[in-house]
């Protein structure tokens, strides 16, 4: 049965088994490869996308549960070619090592800032603890989030 989703602002319709995880729809049907597969079990956060603005683990979200709803992926984090303030901060702080976890980290962090413009370090740690980075970039992730949170405070 066809299912419809709005992904990064565009309506898309698929004919696919409705238990297919959202992750594989995003990656293989839509060709948006920025969202990654790490564990398939909701444990690592590499597959994090926004569902109606809130982070979800797309590897563990069957597509039928998100029909007709709105999804944002890393490719849609900043509109038309600009960078989200966090993406810029990630570049400025040289956060990525292998980089594989970073789409998920950014999706989680951007939701944190959208709901809490000036998080404390403890807030950041609490929000980011579902996202594993095997390369150990955590210090820089915290610093990068803080730098953007700081800007907002000053503004």
């Amino acid at each position: 049965m066809p299912l419809t989703l709005t992904v990064n602002g565009q309506k898309r319709t698929f004919d696919i088994e409705d238990d297919t995880p959202l992750l594989w729809v995003i990656r293989d049907e839509l060709g948006l490869k920025g969202t990654k597969f790490g564990c398939g079990a909701g444990l690592c956060g590499a597959c994090t996308v926004h569902l109606n603005g809130a982070p979800v683990r797309s590897c563990s979200t069957p597509i039928r549960l998100v029909a007709d709803q709105s999804i944002t992926t890393i490719e849609g984090l900043a509109p038309n070619g600009t960078l989200h303030a966090l993406q810029q901060a990630w570049i400025d702080h040289n956060v990525p090592q292998c980089g594989y976890c970073q789409s998920g980290q950014l999706m989680t962090a951007s939701h944190l800032l959208a709901t809490n413009a000036s998080p404390t370090e403890a807030d950041i740690v609490a929000a980011m603890s579902g996202n594993i980075c095997r390369c150990g970039t955590y210090s820089k992730i915290i610093a990068a989030v803080q730098s953007v949170a700081g800007q907002k405070e000053e503004a």
């Binding site: 088994e17 297919t20 490869k33 790490g38 690592c44 292998c98 603890s129 594993i132 970039t137």
Partner: protein, 732 residues
């Protein structure tokens, strides 16, 4: 005498960096150099291509898996070419002899060698092209080339007004003589080396556009999953695919060497079909052992055979016989998985007698061999393309997943992507070996008089030669691959280094002591093993530095002072140790319930000392702070050095706190991140890293941060509880 470009590569680079390009092995195409008039592009050497449009491409022969080669190696060539590193477009190298790692004679990225082995050759390659560009401009202007300067990709006229972009000069530079030994910049002339710099891959990695192996997409591509035997050594006896073949999207179900492959039009359909597949395993050759059996096997081997002497000085037996007291301990360490965040995967397409493979691999030429072995093709009918890599840590030096995808692609004859699940990745890894260490110290008159270390466990090369031998001996017919593998590389007498994988970090015991004996009891329980971040140092660092701590406490000495007084002849060890102690507030009072531990370890030419501060609360170990001093010689990018220290520390803490792969009846019990835990940000300590100034040649940084942190934490826990933990992982 004017040399052609290929000679230039052979001689100048062999002379300066030991890069044995003279080894132009057959079976692997070499890089074409020279000027291509159609494309208006000049390839001065295997690393660079400059175009008339002023594009500069740099062929990156060491893969980027997070450790920073993409930025670090580009910086080297940029420095001598005199262009900002971000003007250069790195691209991943195909398999070719020019790109082999001179230390291994294989095109592999590992052993923290990328920077040290590229340091001379890349600067020479950059300087050589630079010199030719300047000479070309000087001829255009009819001035002396010594009067011309360069800046940011342009040659400047001595008149201070005119300039020519490199792109305008490529056709002319291409006919300039290749300098045989171009002068390199002196350190005071460096603009980019030694400076913090933005990672050149950061933009792609924060926008989701960096292409990892898992992201490769080919037109008409289908998806494969493989069901593998749960027990090591198991094989397919039979399988029932009747219900599976008719499931939606399923294209083929067939046996390959390592199990049963299911190919479907969509990944999820292949996974669902896999659940419906029943395989009967032939376990007649399968292992039945448990992790406890492995240790028993090691103990039995160690009792029976004191091991080969790897280093000895003085008379250890006498020291033990005449000691006032002998300290006698053993340490046990478990198998560990790599758990790269990007699971194993590869994509392949077989067409017209040739197979193309796209894979996140640390060893593309071994990937060629693995693909050839899994098909009826020869290595020169295989092309391996590399990608960004979502973590390597040694796992992707072993090419089993490339063999699998090649077997599948050869059969289905259409583009196919193979993807492992996390559970498969955890259970079918090639592990960091479990190890047993037996140590004895003779103590006399309040001092240590002898140190004996018996290392018990396998060597990595025993497993690795199965992949490596054919790549090193490409002339060998295919039927010899397995023989060559089992006979080993050394049998050929070709300069293959001694396998240090079991003893490195122990045999180079740095502390002064009169009597010393380091032995290796070489024994293997049959569980597949491979390189794992810092390899032997990952277990020997723990054994040596924990035992040092035990002896210090036994003698009633401060662990820092005990080490320090034995490092008189090791100034670089001593300097990092003292600096780490300062950074870690060694000896200063701590709040109740906290304690510090210290450890020092040199690996891959880099010296690292760390002080760890820890506590135990609510049945859990908390690591509060890690102070780290590192001497890695000349620093190319200080920020990457710091990042890699932190990365190694967190990787080591993950092993120390949680790391354990458990075998039961020959099968791995752990499966995903709930039972093979990785350290999360909420367990991250504060980390302070200081780099010691050094003019010594650069040494690796990807691994050396790891070994000391495990013993430093164990030593802190001893200081806290008075109980010594001699098994990993550590318990609260």
């Amino acid at each position: 005498m004017e040399m052609n470009r290929r000679d230039f590569l052979k001689t100048s680079i062999t002379g300066s960096g030991g890069l044995l390009l003279a080894l132009s092995l057959p079976g692997c195409a070499s890089v074409e150099t020279g000027y291509n008039a159609d494309q208006q592009s000049w390839v001065p050497n295997a690393w660079l291509e400059l175009t008339a449009d002023d594009d500069i491409f740099f062929t990156l022969a060491r893969v980027e898996m997070g450790q920073g080669t993409y930025t670090g190696l580009t910086t080297l060539i940029a420095e001598e070419l005199d262009v900002p590193p971000n003007r250069i477009q790195p691209r991943f190298a195909p398999a070719a002899p020019e790109y082999r790692n001179p230390l291994y004679k294989l095109q592999l990225t590992g052993g923290s060698t990328s920077l040290s082995t590229s340091w001379e050759p890349l600067r020479v390659a950059g300087a050589s092209a630079h010199r030719m560009l300047v000479s070309a401009a000087a001829k255009v202007w009819k001035v002396e080339s010594s009067q011309c300067r360069t800046r940011e990709g342009r040659v400047l006229h001595p008149n201070g007004q005119d300039s020519l972009a490199y792109g305008q000069l490529v056709a002319l530079a291409a006919v300039e003589p290749v300098p045989s030994a171009p002068t390199l910049k002196t350190p005071d002339q460096w603009q980019y080396i030694g400076q913090p710099m933005q990672r050149l891959d950061a933009h792609a990695k924060v926008t989701g556009t960096a292409e990892y192996g898992i992201d490769v997409e080919l037109p008409g591509m289908v998806y494969a999953v493989v069901t593998r035997p749960p027990r090591v050594g198991g094989r397919v006896k039979s399988f029932d695919a009747n219900g599976v073949r008719t499931m939606p999207g399923v294209i083929e179900v067939f046996e390959i060497d390592r199990g049963v492959a299911i190919v479907a039009d969509k990944y999820w359909r292949a996974r669902k079909a896999q659940q419906a597949l029943t395989v009967v395993w032939d376990d007649s050759d399968a292992l039945t052992l448990s992790s406890a059996d492995v240790m028993t096997h090691y103990r039995t081997a160690a009792d029976a055979d004191g091991g080969e002497s790897e280093r000895s000085q003085g008379d250890m037996a006498m020291a033990l016989a005449t000691a006032d007291d002998v300290l006698n301990v053993s340490y046990e360490q478990p198998f560990l998985a790599h758990a790269t965040l990007e699971p194993m995967n590869a994509t392949a397409h077989y067409t017209d007698g040739h197979i193309d493979v796209w894979a996140p691999t640390q060893a593309p030429d071994l990937g060629c061999i693995a693909a050839a072995r899994a098909t009826d093709l020869s290595p020169d009918e295989v092309t391996v393309h590399t990608t960004f890599i979502g973590g390597g840590f040694g796992r992707r030096l072993t090419q089993d997943y490339i063999g699998e995808v090649a077997a599948v692609a050869y059969r289905v004859k259409r583009p196919v992507k193979l993807l492992w699940s996390r559970e498969e990745d955890t259970r079918h890894d090639w592990y960091r070996p479990a190890m047993l260490h037996r140590l004895q110290a003779s103590l006399k008159d309040g001092d240590m008089t002898g140190w004996q270390h018996q290392i018990v466990g396998p060597q990595i090369l025993d497993w690795y030669v199965r992949d490596a031998a054919p790549a090193q001996y490409p002339w060998a017919p295919k039927f010899l691959y397995n023989t060559l593998g089992s006979v080993g590389l050394m049998a050929e007498g070709i300069a293959t280094p001694k396998d240090m994988s079991a003893i490195e970090g122990a045999v180079d015991y740095p502390y002064g002591v009169d009597n010393l004996s380091i032995r290796h009891t070489h024994t293997d329980a049959g569980i597949p093993v491979t390189w794992w971040r810092s390899v032997g140092h990952s277990h020997n660092g723990f054994a040596v530095e924990t035992f040092m701590d035990e002896i210090a406490h036994k003698l009633g000495q401060d662990p820092l002072a005990f080490r320090r007084q034995r490092l008189e002849r090791e100034p670089r060890h001593l300097a990092v140790l003292e600096r780490a102690a300062e950074l870690g507030d060694w000896g200063r009072p701590l709040p109740a319930g906290r304690a510090r531990g210290i450890a020092l370890h040199r690996s891959f030419g880099t010296y690292v000392a760390q002080v760890v501060e820890a506590s135990i609360r609510a049945g859990e170990i908390h690591v509060h702070r890690v102070a780290c001093a590192v001497d890695c010689g000349q620093v190319v990018n200080p920020e990457i050095v710091r990042d890699q220290m932190e990365s190694g520390i967190l990787f080591g803490l993950t092993a120390a706190l949680y790391g354990q792969i458990t075998f039961e009846n020959g099968a791995v019990q752990e499966s995903n991140f709930h039972d093979y835990r990785l350290l999360r940000v909420n367990a991250k300590p504060e980390m302070v890293v200081e780099i010691i100034d050094s003019a010594a040649p650069p040494s690796g940084v990807g691994e050396p941060g790891l070994p000391p942190v495990i013993p430093a934490l164990g030593n802190a826990l001893f200081a806290l509880t008075g109980e010594r933990q001699r098994q990993l992982p550590l318990r609260a």
